[in-house]
């Protein structure tokens, strides 16, 4: 027995030990780690890029037109050059600079919109679940009606009426369409939690309503809130990009969606300027995969039944 204990672990045993550690500490979830890493990577591009790259290159005509990325050739036979490593678009803007400015912008709209949406959702969900009665009826019906309205339809009308909007304005508009599902989710959770033994126990302990809401209920809602938050970030980004690709949204600020819109508008598909629309699309794809991984990871964290000893 003792000799066995002193033996160095075999590779299989080490792997088993690692799996068990992962099982014990749910936050050591590979999906979650990768998802967070991908998103942080995109943020890092935005931050580091601002220091090492010349951001003036996002302006029209600041670079030669339609240059391909390094190692590729455009239809005119021009090779990619070091000055513009990801190529340039049809209006003479550097793709790398566009990404450095645009990718964080897109992420920002998504995060801000769902942050606002979640706050509204938490407030309304708690009010509906806790107060009940007439308040509950109004909030529930309101959320149910809003959920059936296609957001893009309304937003297109809004945006064409507003003309040019800022990123914040756009986030606010989108937030008006992402509060419904958190509201319903939180309302349902609050309703079931209100009946739970520990909330009754807290009432017995003379706890105030705010204490019950924020100290007893909210901590147990955190996994749901996280999951719901990530889901609404995804929805917000999809909505924002959808509007931008339609040519709506901010006109003067580079975003990934707007870059795709301009590429389509300038016939980039026909001219085989694949990097013009391809790079932002790819980046959006990576962003969504990151968000999806976080969501899956959080699901496993908050729901131990999904965890397995893979």
């Amino acid at each position: 027995m003792t000799s066995q204990d002193n033996m160095p672990m075999t590779r299989a045993e080490k792997r088993q030990a690692r799996r068990i550690r992962r099982f014990d500490n749910p936050w050591m979830n590979p999906k979650l780690t990768w998802g967070v890493a991908i998103l942080l990577g995109i943020v890092a591009i935005g931050i580091i890029g601002r220091f090492v790259w010349n951001l003036d290159l996002v302006f029209t005509g600041s670079a030669p037109l339609k240059l391909p990325p390094l190692g590729a050739e455009n239809l005119r036979g021009q090779p990619g050059v070091m000055e513009y490593p990801l190529g340039t678009d049809g209006a003479g803007r550097d793709m790398l600079a566009l990404i450095i400015v645009g990718a964080p912008n897109t992420l920002f709209v998504g995060l801000l919109a769902s942050l606002i949406g979640m706050s509204i959702g938490i407030f309304l969900g708690f009010s509906a679940g806790f107060i009940g009665g007439r308040v509950d009826d109004v909030i529930r019906v309101g959320a149910d009606v809003m959920i059936t309205i296609p957001p893009l339809l309304i937003l297109v009308v809004f945006q064409s009426a507003f003309g040019d909007v800022t990123l914040t304005m756009m986030a606010l508009l989108i937030a008006g369409f992402v509060w419904q599902s958190p509201t319903r989710l939180i309302r349902a959770q609050v309703l079931s939690m209100k009946q739970s033994g520990y909330v009754q126990m807290a009432q017995l302990s003379g706890a105030s309503t705010t204490h019950i809401m924020f100290r007893e209920m909210l901590p147990n809602l955190v996994p749901y809130l996280f999951g719901s938050f990530i889901a609404s970030v995804t929805t917000s980004i999809v909505t924002a990009v959808g509007l931008e690709v339609l040519g709506l949204g901010p006109q003067r600020i580079p975003t990934l969606g707007r870059t795709i819109y301009e590429a389509i508008n300038a016939g980039a598909l026909i001219q085989n300027l694949w990097w013009w629309w391809g790079i932002p699309t790819l980046l959006l794809g990576v962003m969504f995969i990151g968000l999806l991984l976080i969501n899956l990871g959080l699901d496993e964290v908050s729901n131990p039944r999904l965890r397995k000893l893979s």
Binding site: I20, S196, G197, L204, N220
Partner: protein, 576 residues
């Protein structure tokens, strides 16, 4: 023929590999069940009873596996059967009546087709008239009318659903029936009816019966042989008579003594009597003034008035079946549920119209222990949160060290090691430990009144007596008055000073326990008491004799007036 058991378990071991190492759920279990015999498997949750039964059905949950030994069903080696052969064996040779039989029926199918499915799956296509004949026959054999087959599961009561499950179980005349706590979700009256049905049908088709349960009383009245399991090991096996009269293993002795008997020896030791805490008010502690509660058209509680003076500590028991209104009464007293009519007065003040300070004072002095110890702790916090928070909130804490000391003393008083439990998370503690912590919490706050709503119904049988005596100590040593809400007349008999029997929201019998439970007068009280299974072999509880007729007694109970059997000082029940 007779010497070959229907089921032979030989050195059966079952293990579950988990992240923390391999758990041995069943350790070399050897046992035989003969044709026509009823064998009970008794033990606490986690002792391997259900796991053994599932292994016989080859239905072990992942990642469990049989690690050794054999299971023989007649001459067939179960473990060597393939998936398809096993499918053919299930139900036709071994029938399993699962624990939550009430939820085992398909809610969107009528009852009959679910029975036909079973026949068709084993015997292939059968004509409609034959199917109808056999399902009717099976339903009638479990005491249900044949037309019950035309109903959907939600149209049946719990007891009826359980019988339907038994009917499905016997429809193919199996050699062995496995009943896994078949009555755990039913109340005592229905329990007795279902067990009678099960025993009748089993002796008619002459199969073996493996009955799983944790209630010694029920087991003693149901089975011929008992197998006592503890931590996956068979610690004792013998006929019921042998085991009840001369239990060998200490654990078996514990199990037998944990069943409180009406009129039997008390498990409490009332040596000291503490005086009630000094009260400033001369008003009665709690007064119900014509309190009535309606849920829509249903009246859960008929107008009820009583006064609890609270100058001498007392335990008032409120007993009744589920749906009798006893828990409604508890939540009304706590102010969680406003009465539809009447007032609840705490020291002369209506609890519905209290200001913030009064309300806090009321909360401080009226505490509760709930039924479900698993739900009472917020999973987010360590368990000491549930003790520390109210202590501070009610202004009892002088300093952090004082809180700590009070918590430790309270834990020690209920027999918990404070260093072991206080810094744990709720899921790391057992149900019994959690319930004791809730009792410790009540003790720490030293209220004037404690409402204990079924405090032990979800705790393992062997711990019930301990927790009840902890609660009893609250009255005895700390002078707290207690309202004990329960369905268990035997414990009410022992702990209480006054008993109220509730039937459909009305007090049908009330008085000192020796009279009400010891010599019941009202037909409903008699029905309840006759339904309790005791580990007493002389009693005819489940032998299927026809002299026990619950529907008759219940009809009588509807007609009979309330019986009031004397009073105790300090508690005044207004006769309606």
């Amino acid at each position: 023929m007779t010497d070959k058991p229907v089921l032979t378990l030989k050195d059966l071991s079952i293990e579950f590999p988990t992240p923390k190492g391999v758990v041995q759920a069943v350790k070399s279990l050897s046992l035989g069940i003969h044709k026509g015999r009823r064998v009970g498997f008794i033990g606490e949750s986690g002792s391997g009873k259900t796991t053994t039964a599932l292994a016989v059905m080859q239905m072990l949950a992942e990642p469990g596996r049989v690690s050794g030994g054999t299971i023989q069903l007649g001459d067939t080696d179960i473990l060597s059967l393939g998936e398809e052969q096993m499918r053919r064996t299930r139900l036709s040779r071994v029938a399993y009546i699962p624990q939550g039989a009430m939820n085992s029926l398909n809610p969107i199918m009528r009852v009959e087709p679910q029975m036909w499915d079973a026949i068709i799956a084993h015997e292939g296509h059968t004509n409609r008239a034959e199917l109808q004949r056999r399902s009717d026959e099976a339903l009638e054999s479990v005491g249900l009318p044949a037309r019950a087959g035309k109903l959907y599961p939600h149209e049946l009561s719990g007891g009826m659903k359980q019988r339907v499950c038994i009917a499905i179980g016997i429809i193919l005349n199996p050699d062995l029936m496995i009943a896994d706590e078949p009555t755990s979700a039913l109340d005592v009256v229905t329990q007795r009816q279902v067990i009678q049905t099960l025993k009748n049908i089993q002796s008619r088709i002459g199969s073996g019966l493996m009955m799983i349960g944790h209630d010694m009383g029920l087991m003693a009245q149901t089975v011929d042989e008992l197998a006592v399991l503890k931590d996956g090991e068979l610690v004792e096996h013998g006929t019921v008579k042998q085991i009840l009269e001369a239990p060998k293993h200490p654990y078996t002795k514990d199990l037998i003594s944990s069943v409180p008997l009406v009129g039997g020896e008390s498990f409490l030791n009332p040596d000291t009597r503490a005086a009630a805490p000094k009260r400033d008010s001369r008003e009665p502690l709690l007064r119900f003034d014509g309190v009535r509660k309606d849920y829509g058209a249903v009246t859960a509680l008929h107008p009820l008035s009583f006064t609890l003076q609270g100058d001498t500590p007392q335990i008032i028991s409120i007993v009744g079946q589920s749906g009798s209104g006893k828990s409604t009464m508890g939540s009304i007293m706590l102010g969680f549920n406003p009465p539809s009519q009447g007032r609840v007065l705490y020291e002369g003040q209506d609890i519905a119209g209290m200001g913030a300070t009064q309300s806090l004072e009321f909360r401080k002095n009226v505490q509760a222990v709930f039924q479900d110890p698993y739900a009472c702790f917020n999973p987010f916090y360590r368990v000491d949160h549930a003790l520390r928070f109210p202590f501070r909130r009610f202004g009892l804490a002088k300093s952090e060290a004082h809180t700590r000391q009070a918590m430790e003393e309270a834990c020690a008083a209920v027999g918990l090691d404070p260093d072991m439990v206080l810094s744990r998370y709720p899921h790391q503690l057992s149900g019994g430990q959690r319930q004791r912590l809730i009792v410790a919490r009540a003790l720490m706050l030293s209220p004037k009144l404690l409402i204990a709503d079924e405090p032990v119904s979800m705790v393992d049988a062997s711990l019930r007596a301990t927790i009840l005596s902890n609660i009893y100590d609250l009255k005895d040593k700390y002078g707290i008055s207690i309202l004990y809400i329960t369905h268990d007349l035997a414990t009410a008999y022992h702990v209480s000073d006054f008993v109220m029997v509730l039937y459909k929201g009305q007090v049908v019998e009330a008085g000192p326990p020796k009279e009400v439970i010891g010599a019941p007068q009202h037909p409903y009280t008699r029905l309840l008491i006759s339904s309790i299974p005791w580990p007493d072999l002389e009693r005819s509880w489940g032998d299927g004799r026809d002299d026990w007729n619950p529907s008759h007694l219940e009809a009588e109970a509807q007609r009979a007036g309330s019986e009031f059997r004397g009073e105790v000082p300090g508690f005044d029940l207004v006769r309606a």
